[in-house]
Amino acid sequence: MLQHHFADMEQQKDASSLGMWVFLITEIMFFGGMFAAYLVYRYNFYDAFVAGSTSLNVWIGGINTCVLIVSSLTMAMAVHSAQLGRQRALVIYLVLTLIFGFTFLGLKAVEYHAKYVEHHIPGQHFKFDKYEDMSGKEVESHVDQGQSQIFFSLYFALTGMHAMHMVVGAGLLTTLILMSLAGKFNASYYTPVENIGLYWHFVDIVWIFLFPLLYLINRVHHV
């Protein structure tokens, strides 16, 4: 298992996790660009952003945040099981993580469908004149349609790219499950589990920022 250009297993493992982190930093910069666009437009079109944010389903958003945190815990436990060489526990935790990942994506699909029905998807048929607030009460909205389209464009770009990362993560998890069923991992070699774990936690962190920035801009005053 030890490649000839490393001194020992520890150095090999440190090198691989450093490499994974360099990749994750490129991902941070990728999402960072979209967060920068979000900041600029939120500053300039604040009222439209508040109205758009309030029209999002905070219950689904909040539950999804918790679902992702649970999936991060099961992923951390999968790495822990791999470290101890517990093959069965590893498979069980990986499957649980995958299930929570799909739960997140399913709830996301419900949200996207609601936005589709309400004509809140940017484009030719976009119309943002009313929305339901947290208590289900219908609120009239008089914010600028173009500015609202920018909010929803950013909403779909950010959550869409995040969801795409979740889909990729689900594929990676499936590969890990198959590899661990084939007995590829043991207490001295589990680098793929560790690195895909890092990826999964990173995707969780992106959502930790997306939840307050998109769903909770201002739930006190209606615009």
């Binding site: 996790s17 450093l18 982190w21 300039n44 815990l73 962190i205």
Partner: protein, 103 residues
């Protein structure tokens, strides 16, 4: 160094913190935190999100137990993110923006 095995108790404690912080940020968004003309709601929301991210990075991602080289590289990544966001905002906040694209 990389062989450090974190106890499941620590994972559970971090998990509990993350879930309760999610509830706190949810609740805080329904309370008016503006004083003296400044709205502190986004400040509180981002502080909580930042704290949660640090917890995930340090414990779930094992950075607390990783090598100094890895720590420095990660810190550099966040410095670059800060440069991206701050210089962008310095530029946009100091100039007038075009009005709505629909007008």
């Amino acid at each position: 160094m990389s062989e450090h095995i974190v106890s499941p108790k620590i994972y559970l404690a971090v998990f509990g913190t993350l879930i309760s912080m999610t509830l706190v940020t949810w609740f805080a968004s329904t309370v008016d935190l503006s004083t003296g003309g400044v709205n502190f709601n986004p400040v509180v929301a981002l502080a909580i999100a930042g704290f949660k991210a640090v917890m995930v990075i340090l414990f779930f991602m094992h950075v607390k137990y990783s090598t100094r080289l890895t720590k420095v590289v990660i810190a550099c990544g966040f410095v670059w993110l800060f440069i991206l966001l701050s210089l962008t905002m310095v530029d946009y906040l100091s100039r007038a923006l075009l009005t709505s694209p629909s007008q």
